[in-house]
Symmetry: C2
Subunit: 578 residues, 2 copies
């Protein structure tokens, strides 16, 4: 027996196996996952395993290594999240998401930090040795909503798309803020004196970390797309590039102390459409499937490890501090959401209802990121208190909030996700309105989201697609693709029902068919053409109007022009048109 030799891969494989088997086990009893979220069950399994290890060895089981978490377990989940991110709602609500992620997180960090410092001043709690800086540092790690936990819970409750993207987008993008504040406070802890310069440097750093992450991610993403241009002869390694480049973007961002999560999301969103067009259908199935599989395993492992790491003697149970941490986390988040949403709703027609606000505030789950960060803290005498408080906050949010959010969503009758895919008619209308709004914005000189989206689309089709796509051709719109997919599905169904006419096999019969079916066939074969035409008419003509239209407003600064001027411009255009 030579266990030493195979130990590392053997134990890794066994852990993954345990996680997968646990997942299967839960799903064997259909009742269980519909009541308790999977994340809770997994933590529970972890707690039991931790207890067994603790009981057998009589010492604390090994805690989840922060390096393993950040380098190996987190990237697959974030990649999956970024790759399957619904880009339309994400970009439509970008402003709100950023507000929640940046201002909301800063608000939470300072709110929790300062109020916990207030608690530390109470003599009876014997916490006077915890400085303000330490409290702020703790606040910076406990404030951030965790994407893994949010994803695990929100995937099961099916709230409407906008609500989902608000909570989930916030949890992803607040990484940049968390990274900056956490590292800032940690370096402050080690500095003898803090100058005001350092504080300003910290604010500047936020932009570097966030935008740097986006830049790193986009450049890797576009390189990935460019690489897949050349894989036509070796289809078999195509899926690899998607994973390699996104992982490299994450590692590179981490290496330069930028936000790895932001980088990998930018990479995934940037490469997606080009890669999809370049690689074969089977490769794409493999990419999608493997991404889902990998992220699901990572997710499972994280929750199990979370449970295992909870057991042990790493904790200092100062209950006042711990309880107030939980309360402050809830209160400051609720306040933050209320205040921020008040401002958001003033500038939007499609407002966020109070029910939605409640779910946003309540859905602020904490998870493994806090947990890994608290173990990365520099050693100081109250570290175990922070670990205990973090553990309790995570368990409270995942168990109490995670288990009650589904009944609450039912109770409040929060608007759910629509089950059916949008119809072809709806898609055409949405696209039509997009073009219309882009035209209106362009004519009126208003640089709104449709204007920028259209500019980006123009840049994309003019330069990027030519560079990145293998077979550059006016690409088929999603409508035509959907139509083709339905057609294929229909054909397969017919074949399975045995109703498919074997045309080519029986030429004589085929001819008689042909005469009967002529008119029907004409209709059928025209259908894609009709759609194509419709799409082309929309794309070209609307575009042409807008191309020829707004050349006038180029010299004035549209942002500064008054509403009266807009109307004037439109009148001038109209007169010229006539």
């Amino acid at each position: 027996l030579d266990y030493q030799h195979v130990q590392v891969p053997f134990e890794i494989t066994l852990w993954i196996m345990l996680a997968s088997l646990a997942k299967i086990g839960f799903h064997l009893y259909n009742k269980l996952p519909s009541v308790v979220p999977e994340s809770c069950l997994l933590i529970f399994v972890g707690l039991i395993m931790g207890g067994i290890i603790y009981g057998l060895n009589d010492r604390s089981p090994p805690v989840m290594d922060s390096d393993i978490f950040f380098l190996y377990l987190l990237p697959p989940i974030v990649l999956d999240a970024g790759y399957f991110m619904p880009s339309r709602p994400f970009f439509e609500n970008m402003g709100t998401i950023l507000l929640y992620a940046v201002v909301g997180t800063v608000w939470n960090v300072f709110g929790i930090g300062f109020s916990l410092y207030g608690i530390c001043q109470v003599r009876a709690f014997r916490l006077q040795d915890v400085s303000l800086l330490h409290n702020l540092l703790f606040g910076s790690l406990i404030a951030a909503v965790d994407p893994v936990a949010v994803l695990a819970v929100f995937e099961e409750i099916h709230v409407n798309e906008k609500l989902h993207i608000l909570v989930f987008g916030e949890s992803l993008l607040n990484d940049a803020v968390t990274v900056v504040l956490y590292k800032l406070f940690r370096s402050f802890c080690e500095m003898p004196t803090i100058k005001s310069v350092d504080v300003f440097a910290g604010v500047g750093k936020f932009f570097v970390v966030g935008l740097g992450g986006v830049l790193v991610g986009l450049s890797f993403g576009l390189t990935a797309a460019f690489t897949t241009r050349f894989t036509k002869d070796i289809r078999v390694i195509e899926p690899l590039f998607v994973f390699l480049y996104s992982y490299l973007s994450y590692l590179t961002a981490e290496m330069f102390h930028l936000s790895g999560i932001v980088a990998i999301i930018a990479c995934a969103m940037g490469m997606k459409r080009y890669v999809e067009a370049n690689i074969s259908l089977k490769s794409h199935t493999t990419v999608k499937y493997f991404m889902k599989m990998w992220s699901s395993v990572s997710d499972t492992l994280i929750f199990i490890f979370l449970g295992v790491s909870t057991i042990g003697e790493n904790h200092e149970w100062n209950w006042p501090y711990i309880c107030f941490t939980v309360i402050f986390c809830l209160v400051w988040r609720a306040l933050g959401v209320l205040v921020l949403t008040f401002f958001v709703n003033r500038f939007h027609v499609n407002t966020i209802t109070s029910k939605d606000q409640f779910i946003i505030a309540y859905g602020g789950l904490r998870g493994a990121i806090c947990f890994s960060l608290v173990f990365l803290l520099p050693d100081f005498h109250r570290k175990k208190l922070f670990i205990a408080a973090t553990t309790v906050v995570i368990l409270f949010t995942v168990f109490v909030q995670g288990m009650t959010i589904r009944p609450l969503v039912d109770l409040l009758a929060v608007k759910r996700k629509r089950e059916s895919a949008p119809t072809v008619g709806e898609q055409i209308h949405i696209r039509f309105l997009d073009h219309l709004l882009a035209g209106i914005e362009d004519i009126s000189g208003h640089w709104g989201q449709y204007y920028w989206k259209d500019k980006l689309e123009y840049f994309n089709s003019k330069y990027l697609q030519k560079l990145l796509l293998r077979e550059y051709d006016q690409p088929k719109s999603s409508i035509v693709l959907l139509y083709e997919k339905l057609e294929r599905k229909h054909a397969i169904e017919l074949a399975q029902a045995g109703q498919l006419g074997h045309g080519p096999a029986h030429p004589s019969l085929l001819n008689s068919n042909r005469t009967v079916l002529t008119d029907q066939k004409l209709e059928d074969t025209q259908n894609p053409d009709v759609l194509d035409n419709m799409q082309e008419i929309l794309a070209r003509n609307l575009y042409r109007i807008r191309r020829t239209g707004p050349a006038y407003s180029r010299h004035t600064l549209p942002g500064e022009s008054e509403p009266g001027e807009h109307a004037k411009e439109i009148l001038i255009l109209r007169h010229q048109g006539l």
Copy 2:
């Protein structure tokens, strides 16, 4: 900049990226891969990279770690080989393959070992300090044909199926022999005296290592099949189990010093048909695709590392020894193939032609396994000589033999692989003949391969399938499945050509269609039934005949009965039947 933090995953990802990009690069120029095998090009890239590292650092570049090779790079390739192994030709030629793998390898080991010892006795070569045992140890590592190298070369030259499986099967199964002999001689080297007991123990060990590997592999394979029974609700982690269980079988076998290669092949072949039936189509695409991708990357990395590791100062260039090693490798293999094939041909109708024999002897490529084993040798003063000789043998076989084998195959007009898939008619005939032969063997009391195959099939459908398959139902035969697949493909082609009649959408037209198409449709819808019936008639009736038939011969030992008795038995049966 914090490179230390991300170093390990970053460098691994970069190596894989380099390998993938190199692969793309070769395929951009279509001429290159058709002349030079990819393996040669990859070794060449490795040599250049090794040269650069050597030039920059002024010290030997790091050699490929044997642990990394055996634990991480080899398993994906062997898993891929086992999973996609054509089981029919493999089992049909099992005897010949085992003969080549066991007797042939032992013959090569002792042949090369003893003749090199002879060379060492020549004073002029100054090799008298290399003992017989060391020469045998060297022989045991240099004698084995390498599956990775064979696969890389034979995949490109498309020889006929039998020839391919003979060489490839040998290269896989000789692992058990190599493991035993290598470990035996290595332990002999460290023993003060060798008793004859140890030698016999070594012979016994061979069976333990080989059969143990098969047992470990089969048990993991069947567990994997059993696990996939329960994955219906979480399709997304299905592909994982295929990889996890096969890897565990490899690691477990290695842990008990059994043959990991044999184990993983047994596991893959054992689980394949059950897993395929249990998991969804998309999961299966992912499994196949990812397996191919992974093995292709591993393969690429191995050859690049082989090149990199060649550069450096690990070598002792004693040219007589090295040249004679190459010559003996060629000569003993050629002799072995000639002698063994002589015996094989005496007992087979379908003989191995002299052309095939030449290709079998010439296709005995050495590769990374030898290379890793030679670095695992215990330190002694002539280790560098062995490393040099191994390197030269590998480079000679991969470059000279690998590059000339394709022209030779063309020149000798070796029978090629048939391009087209077997038709439905052929498949039915093959199956029919199988049943017929099983019947004949059963009646005549001859326990041949058809007899055993049939028994296995009976056991499989009676017990294994019920235990391992989720929806156990008389499974559709491969013919019906093929038919359905063709039907689907045909439907998609029709849909893409726009010729598909939209039946359900136009009920009025559908009716008129129906009257016209009635007779054709009848034919179509009957087709699968006809095939099903045909298959059932074949399977049931032929089986029933055989079930009722041979109960008589149970008491006599069929192996010992003479030909005359066979005829008598058949006559008795015939009379009773009349």
